[in-house]
Assembly symmetry: C6
Amino acid sequence: MLTEFDTTLPSIIQVQNLIKQTTPVELKLLTGDVLTGRVLWQDPQCICIADENSQQTTVWKQAIAYIKPKVS
Amino acid sequence: MLTEFDTTLPSIIQVQNLIKQTTPVELKLLTGDVLTGRVLWQDPQCICIADENSQQTTVWKQAIAYIKPKVS
Amino acid sequence: MLTEFDTTLPSIIQVQNLIKQTTPVELKLLTGDVLTGRVLWQDPQCICIADENSQQTTVWKQAIAYIKPKVS
Amino acid sequence: MLTEFDTTLPSIIQVQNLIKQTTPVELKLLTGDVLTGRVLWQDPQCICIADENSQQTTVWKQAIAYIKPKVS
Amino acid sequence: MLTEFDTTLPSIIQVQNLIKQTTPVELKLLTGDVLTGRVLWQDPQCICIADENSQQTTVWKQAIAYIKPKVS
Amino acid sequence: MLTEFDTTLPSIIQVQNLIKQTTPVELKLLTGDVLTGRVLWQDPQCICIADENSQQTTVWKQAIAYIKPKVS
């Protein structure tokens, strides 16, 4: 999929901030899965998050419904 | 995803108006989730809404089924 | 999403006719929802319909399965 | 959605043949719906089919899983 | 949908080989359906398969989850 | 679908590394299926994985929710 990756876009910057601040997040997928963890990196195609055991999951952006900071 | 963001389009303007007027909205997602709150911003990829506790959720536009003003 | 909006296409013209004739329609979404009402406008990204109480819903075209005139 | 509509493609020609021959078809959608009827027209965005009562339904191609001639 | 159809790609070649060798396959769709049969042709938009009764089904590629040789 | 295949992207490189290292992975699909095995190849359209019996499955990237190394 051709993917927009304009690093001046609010949504791209927001994910970059989540990465820098290692904010715990919830990522809801179109499958209904909710992944929790910290975002490690994003590229035009994917977002990689690590859970509390440092287990990494690479999520295709096409499968994301929403992301939000995890309420503690 | 390459995303159209022509700010003269009715659908883009409508969301901009929802932002300016801080209209409470319902956002139905392809997951079946219904998010309620006020729209904070949109960009070509996402719409960010805040619920009554100011908890922010960034929704990928690809996951949106519809948006409507919340009937009070 | 880059969206085709060639106003000579049968499917675009058909929706324009539904708007002009204020035909009651059923709109089936990929979520399984069926919205009923009259189409108010379309743009490359969305179709806006109003139900019998003039409540407006803006539907992302990506979420549409089909549209048909409502059988009365 | 930018849509390919190369009328030399086998899949486009096949639908054109279904139209000319008024072949009864089954159209399975990503919603799980199965529509049956005869194909009236296609354009890059939609396929329109009519059921036995001449009720027309305009299906977005994005929502199609498969089409097949109806086994009588 | 603009569709890539580079006949040097492994995935395109693999389907071409399934066609030439008339290999029985399972095709899993995003609807959850599993179609079985032999692949007759592919184009940028669709894959056509025939079941054991030579009943043909034309599947939109957008609806495919995976394809695999059928284990006998 | 036009597909980005920039071999300098982290997500593309990560899959290439999974291939080279023959890492056991879990691939979650939008259908809800979880496939396990080793990645054999990727191209812009598909990822091919082989299970423990060397049974190959070619997955369309459009259907992928996430990939992660299998926890043993």
